[in-house]
């Protein structure tokens, strides 16, 4: 069943979404069937591409919109929200 869900998340990672947290996030994102995007202001990144996520330049405390579309959307949204709000390193 196709499903699109989104949530505004505040980044918990202390140095923002730099190489290590971006890699961890993307690795989890790739485990879902759904399409995943992250939007900061007007810029949208493909949640399954590390470079795309890095180019977003999301810093600690920034609000990003996590949008998930697909059969496992709810599950992905919850899991990825927890990751982004926590300290991914």
């Amino acid at each position: 069943m196709e499903n699109t869900v989104e949530r505004t998340v505040t980044l918990g990672s202390k140095s923002g979404l730099h190489a290590r947290p971006a890699a961890v996030f993307v690795q989890h994102a790739k485990g879902f069937h759904s399409q995943i995007t992250l939007t900061k202001e007007e810029r949208t990144a493909n949640g399954k591409s590390i470079l795309s996520v890095l180019a977003l330049g999301a810093e600690h405390g920034d609000q990003v919109v996590l949008k998930v579309s697909g059969s496992d959307a709810e599950n992905a949204l919850n899991k990825l929200t927890r990751l982004l709000e926590g300290d991914l390193g």
Binding site: S15, H18, A19, R20, A23, S49, L51, L54
Partner: protein, 150 residues
């Protein structure tokens, strides 16, 4: 099948990615590749593409090519914490680069004095499989570090 040669972005000695003391790189979460123990002071672009990301502190950068190919060069481990100390940006984020174009100047002594390891992972974080990789000593902007098959 297309092949892309990724040149060494640094002068130095090639080290297996698996032996890097940072599990995100060692377990290839950021992608497959190698690491370099650098002997020089300048990191150059390893490929032709767009410098999509150059970290504010200059400690890491990423270049995007066509077809979803991405290369990330990370100077040292946990070096984001240095907030630029020991690094000097030369290139500008967003610019198009050629292999060998200088991106960042860095000082190993300053970085190590601040307690950081300078071992530098170079990974393919996007499309493609590494079919061949260098070993031993490499020269920045001239030796092939690894070859991607797309």
């Amino acid at each position: 099948m297309a092949y892309i040669d990724v040149l060494a972005p640094l002068d130095g000695t090639v080290v297996d990615l698996e032996s890097v003391p940072d599990e995100v790189f060692a377990q290839k979460m950021a992608g497959d590749g190698v690491a370099i123990d650098p002997s020089g002071q300048v990191a150059v672009s390893p490929v032709a593409g767009q410098l999509v990301k150059l970290f504010k502190g200059g400690h890491a950068f990423g270049i995007a090519l066509n077809d979803g190919v991405e290369v990330i060069v990370h100077l040292g481990l946990d070096t984001i914490e240095l907030e630029g100390k020991g690094f000097e940006k030369i290139a500008v984020e967003g610019q198009f680069v050629q292999p060998g174009d200088p991106i960042v100047r860095f000082d190993r002594a300053t970085i190590e004095a601040a307690g950081k390891v300078i071992l530098s992972p170079v990974v393919s974080s996007g499309e493609g499989t590494i079919i061949r990789r260098a070993g031993g000593v490499v020269k920045a902007g001239s030796d092939v570090l690894f070859t991607l098959e797309i």
